[in-house]
């Protein structure tokens, strides 16, 4: 097959990955319980039955089932989300059991930092349990963060948790959800985080209209979205030549979506393609099998590990993630970027093939050109 340029090579590799769909990442939503009540939470505890949470043994058995039935030589990492993972009293016990498998020793945990900030010694306990990465959410300066989190003092604890994670050798990400209330503070906030925490990654996520943010005015308008992208592009150009140094701080945009061939690979240290259901399996708090823990529950599930074989579900029930034709609706129908993005991130997708927004389209309209 003749390849015209780098993007064609990449596209070919993505299509090959989709065809083979090796299981490489498990996103485990450890719980929906949380010790905060954030304004913009995409995975809130409302409308969930917390009594259905997987038991200690059910979680351990699920990972043993994966170990037995999948090609572990292809496996890469476990991403633990919530709720707040550290409110699970059995979290360290579970990690101790599953990390006995050598392929389950590359684990990251996403946290609000409340518990780690109060008890940073927990980080030392995590290290022998295969945890290599900690992600801490900090949503801007103190007053703004505490307001979002609806808890005074949460900023100080999150900040301390991130500092301690770096100090204790964790590959640390600080994530900020950009929204109209903090967008003007992002440049100064980035400098503060870079200079006082030194995380491996400074990650900006755009606030998606999901969960509690679905009906709140926290999503960015087109102009603000463009400001965020421009900021990341500028900082990426300033810093990318240092990224081989593990002590440098990288900038990235989270799973907001495809930016177009002009910008992809120029604002974050990777080319984006949603991995949900391609090599990423989502295990939700109650054992429902999804493609990623970021995808709203309303989108439905592919199976239930309390009843189904994970392998069977993975091989036979994820077609809507691996076949993209049904997503080619609206502006996607005539979009020249379709062959590269396949409709963008699945957490923005609705069952009828429409989506909440598309970053590429937003940027194109803002610049007045397609």
């Amino acid at each position: 097959m003749k390849k015209e340029n780098g993007f064609d090579t990449w596209k070919y590799a993505v299509n090959n990955l989709i065809a083979k769909h090796p299981l490489q990442v498990v996103s485990w939503e450890a719980t929906r319980k949380c010790n905060l009540n954030c304004q913009h939470c995409g995975s809130p505890s409302e409308r969930t039955n917390l009594e259905e949470e997987l038991s200690t043994n059910e979680v351990i058995e699920a990972f043993k089932e994966i170990e037995r039935n999948f090609d572990m030589s292809k496996f890469r990492h476990i991403n633990i989300t919530g709720g707040e993972p550290f409110v699970r009293k059995d979290l360290l016990h579970i990690l101790g059991e599953i990390s006995k498998n050598q392929y389950f020793r590359n684990i990251d945990i996403q946290t609000n930092g409340i518990i780690l900030g109060k008890n940073p010694e927990i980080i030392e306990q995590l290290k022998p349990l295969g945890v290599t990465g900690i992600g801490v959410s900090i949503d801007g300066p103190k007053e703004i963060h505490d307001n979002f989190r609806r808890k005074s003092g949460s900023y100080d604890l999150a900040f301390k948790a991130a500092q301690e994670a770096v100090k204790r050798g964790m590959t640390t990400t600080v994530s900020i959800v950009a929204n109209p209330q903090n967008i003007n503070h992002i440049p100064e906030f980035y400098e503060k985080i870079k200079n006082e925490i030194h995380p491996r990654t400074f990650r900006i996520m755009t606030c998606d209209p999901l969960g509690r943010a679905e009906e709140s005015p926290l999503t960015l308008n087109s102009k603000q979205t463009k400001e965020v992208i421009n900021f990341l592009h500028e900082k990426y150009l300033e810093t990318f030549q240092n990224y081989a140094n593990p002590n440098s701080t990288m900038v990235e945009l989270g799973c907001g979506g495809w930016l177009g061939k002009d910008l992809e690979g120029m604002i974050r240290p990777f080319i984006f393609h949603c991995i949900a259901g391609l090599n990423n399996l989502g295990i939700l708090y109650d054992g429902k099998l999804a493609a990623c823990s970021n995808i709203p529950r309303e989108f439905g599930f592919e199976g239930d590990l309390k009843k189904d074989s994970i392998k069977d579900i993975w091989e036979n029930k994820y077609q809507r993630y691996r076949e993209s034709g049904w997503k080619k609706t609206g502006e996607c129908k005539s979009c020249t970027e379709w062959d590269y993005c396949h409709g963008g991130p699945m957490h923005k997708m609705k069952e009828d093939g429409s989506r909440t927004d598309c970053l590429y389209q937003t940027l194109s309209k803002t610049s007045g050109e397609k």
Binding site: G6, F7, T9, W10, A13, V14, L17, Q24, V25, R76, H77, N79, N106, I107, D108, Q110, T132, G133, I134, G135, M170, T171, T172, T173, P199, R200, T201, R203, Y236, L237, E238, F240, Q241, N242, Y243, A244, P246, E252, G254, C255, E264, G265, M266, P269, F270, I271, F272, H273, I275, L278, N279, N280
Partner: protein
């Protein structure tokens, strides 16, 4: 800026040629890409 963009484009070519096209997306949130942990960054962003 032009010179930086030129260098960034060269780096991007290495990203696009990486065997696993979603290597770093796979390892978002600060996990370590590559069998030994840092190949992606040393090879894509190194000299």
């Amino acid at each position: 800026m032009k010179e930086l963009e030129k260098k960034a484009l060269e780096v991007r070519e290495k990203m696009l040629d990486w065997e696993n096209p979603v290597e770093y997306v796979n390892n978002m949130y600060g996990c370590h890409p590559g069998e030994k942990g840092t190949e992606y960054f040393s090879q894509v962003f190194g000299e």
